[in-house]
Symmetry: D2
Subunit: 338 residues, 4 copies
Amino acid sequence: MNRTLNIAVIGCGRIGRIHAENLATRIPGARLAAVADIVGGCAQEVADQFHVPKATNDYHELLADRAIEAVAICSSTDTHSRIIQEAAAAGKQIFCEKPIDYDLTRIDAALSAVKKAAVTFQIGFNRRFDPSFAKVRQLLAAGGTGQPHIIRIPSRDPEPPTLEYIKVSGGIFLDMTIHDFDMVRFLSGSEAEEIYAIGDALIDPAIRQAGDVDTAVVTMRLKSGALATIDNSFKADYGYDQRLEVFGSKGSASAGNHAPDQHMLMDAAGVHQAKPLYFFLERYTEAYVLEMRAFVEAVLNKQPPPVTGIDGLQAVIIGLAATRSLRECRPVKLSEIR
Amino acid sequence: MNRTLNIAVIGCGRIGRIHAENLATRIPGARLAAVADIVGGCAQEVADQFHVPKATNDYHELLADRAIEAVAICSSTDTHSRIIQEAAAAGKQIFCEKPIDYDLTRIDAALSAVKKAAVTFQIGFNRRFDPSFAKVRQLLAAGGTGQPHIIRIPSRDPEPPTLEYIKVSGGIFLDMTIHDFDMVRFLSGSEAEEIYAIGDALIDPAIRQAGDVDTAVVTMRLKSGALATIDNSFKADYGYDQRLEVFGSKGSASAGNHAPDQHMLMDAAGVHQAKPLYFFLERYTEAYVLEMRAFVEAVLNKQPPPVTGIDGLQAVIIGLAATRSLRECRPVKLSEIR
Amino acid sequence: MNRTLNIAVIGCGRIGRIHAENLATRIPGARLAAVADIVGGCAQEVADQFHVPKATNDYHELLADRAIEAVAICSSTDTHSRIIQEAAAAGKQIFCEKPIDYDLTRIDAALSAVKKAAVTFQIGFNRRFDPSFAKVRQLLAAGGTGQPHIIRIPSRDPEPPTLEYIKVSGGIFLDMTIHDFDMVRFLSGSEAEEIYAIGDALIDPAIRQAGDVDTAVVTMRLKSGALATIDNSFKADYGYDQRLEVFGSKGSASAGNHAPDQHMLMDAAGVHQAKPLYFFLERYTEAYVLEMRAFVEAVLNKQPPPVTGIDGLQAVIIGLAATRSLRECRPVKLSEIR
Amino acid sequence: MNRTLNIAVIGCGRIGRIHAENLATRIPGARLAAVADIVGGCAQEVADQFHVPKATNDYHELLADRAIEAVAICSSTDTHSRIIQEAAAAGKQIFCEKPIDYDLTRIDAALSAVKKAAVTFQIGFNRRFDPSFAKVRQLLAAGGTGQPHIIRIPSRDPEPPTLEYIKVSGGIFLDMTIHDFDMVRFLSGSEAEEIYAIGDALIDPAIRQAGDVDTAVVTMRLKSGALATIDNSFKADYGYDQRLEVFGSKGSASAGNHAPDQHMLMDAAGVHQAKPLYFFLERYTEAYVLEMRAFVEAVLNKQPPPVTGIDGLQAVIIGLAATRSLRECRPVKLSEIR
């Protein structure tokens, strides 16, 4: 890797800014060449902050710029499939935030375009790069836990999204649990066979009226024979709760929460420590850097990316199956979805 | 409590010996007056060890002895219902190991006899007395976690029972998970509404041939709205894994494993600590003492026992529902069982 | 070991009662044959509670009783040396609470008598039998930490003794730190060479007026070259703080506090766990049983006891050196004391 | 703060590069305007990497550049005092790596120059900004532990410096323990009164021949009455061991090590977790950013810096006292040094 990848960020919302900052400061081999956002001065603001040479409201400009070799698609989900196809047609290497889409036909169209253009395509399942989760995967791969039998993932947000967001989010399983579905696949190395989901609006009845649940438990049977259980909540009062465990024939590997510090206070009331880091920006700071480094390295070294379009597709299929299971109150086979 | 309760132990197998030893040495207010076991010299051996005045092969002798006020029934499960009825008819206060029976009719008969005789009846759900589990319950009762939303119980044995035992055990849900079902009821203060179970023989195919599974994940919807998930394995290489967590609207209370010591070794390979205590005899040593103390106190103080016949019945109903769910591959409502 | 050791407890104060209960109920191979206490009905009360055949106000009766083979001396420190000599002359095997005495001449007299009578003599340094501390010793012995370089012991009581007690206790180093001095010897397998002590009455000025300090830090150079540091306080608001660490050429082995349960509460204020067990009766419950088992086994198997008279002597010598160091504000060589 | 501070880094060794990278990418309000290093192309290399407009072999150029408002002095210790004086004379705001010097006269000269020029002067005691240590300080300040009684600091490096470095380092107390001395002052809010040090070369006899020790234990009496104990080693096989505890009248606040991940592996051999982060670059990554942010903010807001010249001076005085104590085998009063 003795050259630099010119990359543009499309979409300068919360996640786009993270990638922009990382690309500008913490990704060896990358040069943040441009940023785009349809909203007013957003792109310019980010460009100013991180000394980016080019800002635009129209990402087509960036696709037309031959000096730009790669794009990080961070725009709203409904635009992903279209931009992927356009970027692929323009020969850009593509990093895309999850999910590709909630519609399998549009995902297919995007993945076909990527395949036809033979460009690198990496989906933003950032948690695979979290040091603790990656370490669990590594222990598994090294055989430390033997054959996986049970995968358990408690995954809870510190606060619910807005009701406006919930109404268009695709539902808890496609918006939130999708990360956990990917984690089950990542850890087990196996595809899901059948899924069963229960859930309710225990935090806020308005969430039910908005058509979603805020608390859910999902169980899965995997093709390998392993079983998985995920529990989700939109609101953990103590912060972002992101743990997981793989129990296997030779032992158990787990990942605990990350805290902002390692203090311990012992007093007459008990022993006290720091809460988990507040939310994904805090917990996955390093994971965002590492996933982008991996993308840049994959492109520069012409190697397959560590997270693929199939990974993006499969997690959506599981999410659709979970959604149907919740609605129909029965276990749903993945083969019913596709 | 300025008097002593004369109590007899019926059945001197592994668990009977534990109760005999505890009654002989660690239960203020109790006097171990007699022991019985149908097998050869078992009762006499226990009597010798713990200075018990009377040993017999026929427990009817003890029921006929008016000086004996209470019995601890530790014989094989198939004898529980009959002995409960006989003991109740004889006016004895009754502590009985779990389960009462696997057959609802026989449970009903036992509970009716107890009710008619108006004797104290406590079922041996020892885990309720485990200091960590009891502390979680206490935190919940004090409101520390708010309204329970999700209950998670990983519960794994260090090694499978023998195949002979498995064939007559009633299946994993009635033999092993029954403790976890009771724990869900104990912690949530709510009854189960519906249950779904998946499982497989991942450890040993012979267990499947014996008609059971060795690995299972169960999810439950409770009447309170809360969701529960339990995972079980017959074989955790690192020892007895007995944890639980109640996640609620204001926080999460959990109980971790207990270790034989609190050492920590830091070396070039990592940071190392002790494994969990090996099995239930080690982990629940104190719980066995505390449950018997509670029984003796309840009798002497003429107060209701902390674990009742209904608790014994309900856990079996849940176990039967889980068994049916596994067999029929669908969620089963408790109302289908009774 | 197919026989039973008849043992008597002399002194039925707090520690005597613990040994009496353990001998009556939890020490295989021992039979608690008698108890003695000079105070009114104390001995009888203990005898009643634990079904002991004999109680007396005059321990000489027990020494004269040929059926009694061993004694556990739990009387006040000032009587230890005399009773040891009498018991040795009577041919009894001897377990004696720490310290033997604060006066080296009286210790010598006691140890000479023991040697001449060739009876087993074990001193009550119970902490050596604590599962966590014993595990650290075992890791060291197995070479897990390499050659010890630094030994660190934070050792803090939950509340100060009474001023009356402090006035006759011999001072913090002979009364409290003596356990830590023994632990340094036990863990390092080396004798102390030189000691330096600083201390102050930071908790209560009345303690200074009583001639003692309530807070102290001691450092030691050992003959092996290792360094040790102990810190003590009479009052830890969070309970009994009993930790230690051995840092060596290949790693570090440490022992943490023991808690009454393994709960964890996560809420908006933080992550909370149980405080350490309150005081020595709670923390060292198991250690008291294990040390007495070891004594009984040593006697029955005619093997050397795990803690010897020399151990009792050496800890006192270190305590005297620390006391002098504090008074004279300079490092004191052990050879200055003896 | 609506302006940017132009700052130059003098000295591009290991620590200079860290500050250069942080200033280039992670310090809002700062602009890395220039870098200097006397060695060949070092400055240019750093300039290339972080897009710094100016590089030079002669830092005097930077002092003469009126656009440069501040300097971070990261050159070798023997140059600190001189550069501080020159920078102060040039009116630059000054951040200087620890220590100012090992010679009190040269420190005085530097501090006088700073005072006369009335520029901001911050010394690089980075550990004060470590999130765990800062949290302990914050808990103390909030009264959570009451009045400090005992401060304990185990502080161990993963591997010794080279013998060449050891020969010119000023000795373990001025080079390594100096951070811990500062931490004692920072946490206690009190000055040291008297110090006693023991130490030896237990890791490598060549270190003794080089005139230093590799293992040391230091105890201190503070003016507040509190006691402190520090233990150091040049070589912890398990990585950088940086913990501390403040025990006070109401409780104990401590900081544990930081690990690269929060994994836990349970297998037949035990429970295993990650080792501490390897060394200061890994452990104090965030602390280096935070201390520089604090400096930049102090300058821009014209507020006093959080670490002052007096802090730099006092730590050296304690280090000199410790060095004398080790050599003379006696407690040394700080007043003997100055």
